[in-house]
């Protein structure tokens, strides 16, 4: 390296206040929010750089919609177009829930890398790298939502309510995925290998998406299973979206979905943070 001493930034002799204060960096409020957003940007850059990591979550809803609508549509609901209207919110919920698996897997491998040593030696909140990664994943969920709706639209899916309600439905799905990501982050902190994180999260998300109202109405399921289906958070999310997209009766489904989201965050965010502190 050639050292051009004329352009060398001077390390100022610092007084007891600490060097970061010297540079006019005042203690601005809400450091956790600011630092998390900076680190969310890091996740966005990574997502942007490796678009192939999005292939599963963008292609899966397309393939599922085509397969289920054209193969089972006639048998299940009598018409493919009627089944598409019914199935799309379900597929969106299923895919977005699966999308939340990735964050635990990624953080599990990320944590082994040196950059986390760097974060830990900086005067930022310990939780900022995790919170930032979760926030950065919003981009993935928005992409899933848009690609599912776009595919549905091409196949003939139509919104029967209004734009505001449709957007509310999409936001609910994204919020659900964000909350579920804390489960994934927790597993990612607890389990040794990223393969195991993937496996465990799949075992959690699979029953949620099949023992639900995603593919068939709850009433068509065996009685013993209905008990589970009726408390399944994904059932509430799907029912809420059907109401917001199609005008089906909303009942308490939005509230139940929000309650589940709050529950996931309240339980798994602290658990994930504790596991993270232990791990490092």
């Amino acid at each position: 390296m050639t050292l051009d001493l004329t352009t060398k930034p001077r390390v100022r002799p610092v007084s007891g206040t600490g060097p970061h204060a010297v540079d006019g960096a005042s203690r601005r409020p809400l450091p956790l929010v600011r630092h998390s957003l900076t680190l969310a940007k890091r996740s966005l850059i990574k997502t942007w750089r490796t678009p192939e990591a999005l292939i599963d979550v963008t292609l899966q809803p397309i393939i599922f919609l085509v397969i289920f609508v054209y193969i089972f549509g006639g048998a299940v609901s009598g018409s493919t177009s009627g089944y598409l209207q019914y199935l799309l919110p379900g597929i969106l919920a299923q895919t977005i829930a699966q999308g939340a698996i990735a964050i635990g897997v990624n953080l599990n491998t990320d944590l082994e890398k040196g950059i986390f040593d760097r974060f830990r030696s900086l005067p930022i909140a310990r939780s900022a790298p995790l919170v930032g990664a979760v926030i950065g994943d919003v981009a993935r969920y928005v992409i899933v939502t848009v690609s599912t709706l776009a595919t549905g639209y091409v196949m003939g899916f139509r919104i029967h309510t209004n734009l505001a309600q449709a957007i509310a439905g999409c936001l609910l799905a994204v919020l659900f995925a964000l909350s579920l990501s804390w489960v994934s982050v927790f597993v990612g902190m607890k389990v040794r290998t990223s393969g195991a994180v993937q496996g465990i999260m799949f075992l959690i998300v699979m029953p949620l998406s099949f023992a639900s109202n995603v593919f068939v109405p709850t009433s068509s399921l065996p009685g013993w299973m209905q008990g589970f289906v009726n408390v399944n958070p994904l059932t509430h999310l799907v029912a809420a979206m059907r109401g917001l997209f199609q005008g089906d009766p909303l009942g308490n489904h939005v509230w139940w979905t929000l309650a589940w989201c709050a529950g996931f965050v309240a339980v798994f965010l602290p658990l994930a943070m504790r596991a993270y502190r232990r791990k490092v």
Partner: protein
């Protein structure tokens, strides 16, 4: 010196990893504006000590203060004042060099424009301007190391920890890194650097602490340490092998001890002291008309240092230590 001037103080640091005791009571002290060289072989506990001081690990016993703050109870205040360049690069490989530095500046609460300016300055200084917008994944080992050092300097820290900063650098880059470290110190920073090379510690450090098996086995100035371990060795290879005898006689005259050894075929080596040994030898060889193909002055290797200090060779693998602890 008052204790106020001690920027880093550690006493009785102990750290265990399962059955391995990485540190078994280490004391360290570094005065403001000076460089401490922490010298030790593989597995001595250098990285463990640095990680405790940089708040990445907690000690099982003992305490440490950096800039007056206890690393265990006031980690956040300590982090305000330190920059860490770990043994293995801690940069984000998926981000460009510039993005890495800007991100850190933002995390240190600099504004957007200020962050970009600071990143550009550092990229320029570390000769990474051309590679600034390539992902760090594509960087060579030396470039990554420089980016890593740049990353730890973003906040202009008072205290800088450098864990084997020159391992894996070619000799030219190593000298450059030494210059960087010297200029940081000239600007008022305090540096703790670990190394496996006595010559590196000698070139940079004001004081040297030698550790082995998690224990301090010597603490001295470079001069003091060299007095103990025997100073420098002068090696000469006459171009005409038949003049070996003559050369040996000349070397005998400048040597501190009379023994002229022949470590390799055709190379003579003698212990010397003082700065004038080399020019004196060169002058005498020239007046005798003896040409040389090799002429060099060496500090003792780490092995020799350890042999002198402990009477045995340094344990270079971790298994030896493990067996001893178990």
């Amino acid at each position: 010196m008052t204790s106020h001037d001690l920027v880093i103080e550690a006493e009785g640091l102990v750290r265990r990893f399962g059955r391995t005791t990485a540190l078994q009571g280490v004391d360290l002290s570094v005065a403001r504006g000076t460089v401490l060289g922490l010298l030790g072989p593989n597995g001595a506990g250098k990285t463990t000590a640095v990680r405790i001081l940089a708040t990445l690990l907690t000690a099982d016993a003992g305490y440490a203060r950096v800039c007056g703050y206890d690393v265990a109870t006031h980690a956040q205040q300590v982090r305000q004042s330190i920059g860490l360049t770990g043994q293995y690069a801690s940069v984000d490989e998926d981000l460009t060099g510039r993005q890495n530095l800007v991100m850190i500046a933002r995390l240190l609460d600099m504004g957007g424009a200020q962050s970009r300016r600071r990143a550009a300055e550092l990229l320029e200084w570390f000769d990474l301007a051309d590679a600034a917008d390539r992902t760090a994944k594509t960087y060579s080992g030396g470039m990554r190391r420089r980016l890593d050092l740049a990353a730890s300097l973003v906040g202009r820290p008072e205290v800088i920890f450098l864990d084997e900063p020159t391992t894996g650098l070619d000799p030219g880059k190593r000298e450059d890194m030494w210059d960087v470290i010297r200029s940081l110190v000239a600007d008022g920073s305090t540096v703790l650097l670990t190394t496996q090379y006595l010559d590196e510690a000698d070139a940079l450090a004001d004081e040297i602490t030698v550790i082995d098996h998690g224990r301090v086995i010597a603490h001295d100035t470079p001069e003091g340490l060299k007095r103990v371990v025997g100073g420098q060795t002068l090696e000469v290879r006459p171009s005409d092998p038949s003049r070996l005898e003559e050369t040996a006689a000349i070397l005998g005259a400048v040597a501190t001890a009379g023994v002229v050894e022949q470590p390799r075929n055709g190379v003579l080596s003698v212990p010397v002291a003082g700065d004038d040994a080399l020019p004196a030898t060169v002058a005498r060889l020239a007046s005798a008309g003896i040409g040389v193909t090799e002429l060099s002055l060496h500090l003792p290797s780490l092995d020799e240092v350890f042999f002198t200090l402990t009477g045995r060779t340094a344990a270079h693998d971790d298994t030896t230590q493990h067996a001893e602890v178990a």
